[in-house]
Symmetry: C2
Subunit: 198 residues, 2 copies
């Protein structure tokens, strides 16, 4: 791929992206107009249409970039499959760290849910990870009491829900701490003394 991109184009695109993010902090996506994005970026409205079909495409490129970055962080390394259940899972730690790194973006997208479609994409990434874990369990001869597809839906949504809770509450704990809680919840459950087990 000859990815020689004109520096002016890079600059222009970055300015449109920053303008959109700034506007998303102030108002709902659907109420943002191309005119506003152009004004905020101090570029001409016609210039916008030179680079994008519409504001959907601008948003899409912004999200795709972030999702690709997130997927890389969540990639399972071979040595991570067999992890110590007493320690937080490294993938969880990296996930929480990534959300701190690109905090403005994730606050807008996940905490304030300005673009609902994005949450589904993150959910799919988490589901992939959960599914890999479930496969590992099966190989290890653990049998599911509840159908696997239901278990996967349950755990995936639970993880995502806690992540969103953490963002909405301004990240009150460290990535390591949060990763530990998720690991605990999904293995031994939330209670010290589980009345439903013996």
């Amino acid at each position: 791929m000859s990815t020689k991109v004109d520096p002016r184009v890079q600059r222009t695109k970055a300015m449109f992206q920053e303008a959109l993010l700034a506007l998303l902090e102030e108002k709902d996506y659907k109420k943002i107009t191309v005119r506003e994005i152009s004004e905020r970026s101090r570029l001409n409205r016609a210039t916008f249409y030179l680079h994008y079909y519409d504001k959907e495409q601008l948003l899409e490129q912004l999200m795709d970039e972030a999702l690709a970055d997130l997927r890389k962080s969540v990639q399972v390394n071979d040595y991570e499959y067999k992890y110590d259940s007493d320690n937080p899972h490294p993938i969880f730690v990296r996930l929480f760290e990534k959300m701190i790194e690109r905090n403005q973006f994730y606050q807008i997208m996940l905490a304030h849910e300005k673009v609902p479609y994005f949450i589904d994409s993150v959910k799919r990434i988490i589901e992939t990870f959960v599914r890999e874990g479930a496969q590992y369990m099966i190989n290890d001869q653990h049998i599911f009491k509840v159908p696997m597809e239901i278990s996967i839906a349950y755990i995936t949504s639970a993880y995502l829900g806690v992540i969103i809770w953490w963002l909405k509450n301004d990240m009150p704990h460290t990535p390591t701490y949060m990763a530990k809680q998720l690991t605990t919840m999904s293995t031994v459950g939330p209670m010290v003394d589980n009345p439903y087990l013996r």
Copy 2:
């Protein structure tokens, strides 16, 4: 309250609501115009503005009505607080039944996520129920290993996630069966032989 509503008004409002629901099955909410809603309902566009400020208000009334109905189904009766963990929780059963009863509506709102805002409202209803359960646990001297707020976020999202999974997969199981799975998942976990517990 003198709730004598002119039958013409009732009829007109119902026609606008049905038109909106029909259109939501075909396309995204944001792409639906007031003009289309009026055409579909075979009413005049000016008539629409006689009853609603904009299409947001029409949608809001439709959702508020459904949410009030759902809240009633999920109300906890006194005798339901102490339930047998071997049986499905009656509230779950009623919840799933309600989603079958108003299936077109919940397919649109939760499975196809045509109106993301609605999911949050349902989530809040489930959270209330989860919170009541957690309170009951505390009174019963069970101590949380994970901070209660995190546990609540975890369980609430897990429940909602399974409900949405069930809707998306065209309700492959009965309300009683699904309620049983949720009860099992949140008490003893998804596995027959949990390797993380002794």
